[in-house]
Amino acid sequence: MKYALVAVLGLLIGAAAGGAAIYYNPFTQPSPPSADAADRALHYGLPGEVLGFHLGDDVVPPGSPKRDDVFWEETIGRTALLSLVLEDAHDKPAAIASRLLAVSPRTDLLLSGVRVNDYWLLTIPGEGTLFLRAESNVWPFLKETLPVWYFGRHWKGPTDYRPTAGPGAGGTAVVVGATGRFAGLEGSAVEKYRITDLDPASRSAAATGEIDLRLASSRVAAGR
């Protein structure tokens, strides 16, 4: 009996130490910010500039208000759909983005964090459409947000994040020009956002974000 109690105690302490190791794991920290200047930066505010937001049934935060518009099908249960208006440097609406998101199979809590595949279609009226393929690491966001939402921990924000972690070189997203003047161009992009408020009651967050675009030629900058 005494051996069993000691074994359970050791198991619990070991598991707690393992959890702490995952929580503070340096391998899952975000990439350092890129020093490269963007050809174009578009920014957004959440929830103000959201046109629509839909979540899969399996990724709705427990305890959040009931929604009628969740994706209930098991094949898309771990996905989300977000459409946004993006503004230019003068705070004028300049683009519309559709983001299809899915938890990535490359999620690894030990080595890479919680990864999300984030596919953007971004249309700038009068210029054309870009396709962005990003892999984001949302673990730094989750490990700060979840304790505030669920355990009432004091929030130390606002907090800045740079979730883009690939699949391009240097931890950037891959950009492919789809239509208009962007057709045939390629490039990279990085998303950054700042969480400005967390609401434990509705399990929601307010944020300002920015997507920095770089294309292989400077044609994207010529429109500014």
């Binding site: 302490i13 459409s83 899915a102």
Partner: protein, 215 residues
């Protein structure tokens, strides 16, 4: 007893790390792919969208036609100086099973006309499809030619090819994961069998892709 404690401690520590590393945290339910081998090489795959049940959301300029007026979110005026229509759908395989999500951006202005589809199948990756884009309100015109008048319900059958089979301008432009390195063509056929008096469309969108690994 000391050995027992240390063994349990290491087992607990290692077990949590192993679970963090080895468990499939990001796995998605996958259905068998409904692909076919085509005679001259490559593979074909059909994706289907059923209207209205698979239409998740839309936003657009009224100049884009019926689809921008019914159940669509209004865009800021700065974005609607030229015709623009953004639509989001659930995506089905040829067997009618929901397998993913899709976004369609259409622009009808002179400088940047075109259509882009982003098809995401969580268990397989994503596809980018691009085409020159149909004429403004092309579906509306086809419906009117078949007797539809705005504001009243209509039943019938209208088939409109937004990207015609066999053309080289409607292309598979990029892909990820299982679709990485593929190029090819696609066609997009809208079959509308009814319009409600509120303007809601009933019918299907069929996206047929023929892809092969690029050189």
């Amino acid at each position: 007893m000391k050995f027992t404690f240390l063994f349990a401690l290491l087992f607990g520590f290692g077990g949590v790390l192993a679970a963090g590393h080895l468990l499939p945290w990001g796995a998605h339910v996958r259905l068998p792919s409904q692909t076919r081998v085509v005679a001259n090489g490559g593979r074909s795959e059909r994706f289907v969208i059923r209207l209205p049940v698979d239409r998740v959301a839309a936003a657009g300029a009224k100049a884009a036609g019926l689809r921008a007026e019914t159940g669509a979110v209004a865009l800021p005026p700065e974005l609607t100086a030229e015709p623009l229509l953004v639509e989001h759908f659930k995506l089905r395989d040829a067997g009618g099973n929901v397998v993913g999500l899709a976004a369609r951006h259409w622009s009808g202005d002179a400088k940047a006309a075109g259509t882009a589809w982003s098809l995401m199948i969580p268990s397989r990756g994503a596809l980018l499809l691009t085409a020159p884009g149909e004429a403004r309100a092309a579906l509306d015109a086809a419906l009117r030619n078949s007797g539809y008048s705005p504001g009243s319900a209509w039943t019938g059958e209208v088939r409109v090819a937004f990207a015609t089979e066999g053309t080289d301008t409607a292309v598979v432009a990029a892909g990820s994961d299982e679709f990485a390195g593929l190029d090819g063509r696609y066609s997009e056929l809208w079959t509308i069998t009814g319009v409600s008096d509120a303007g809601e469309l009933r019918g299907t969108i069929e996206i047929d892709t023929i892809t092969r690994h690029g050189s």
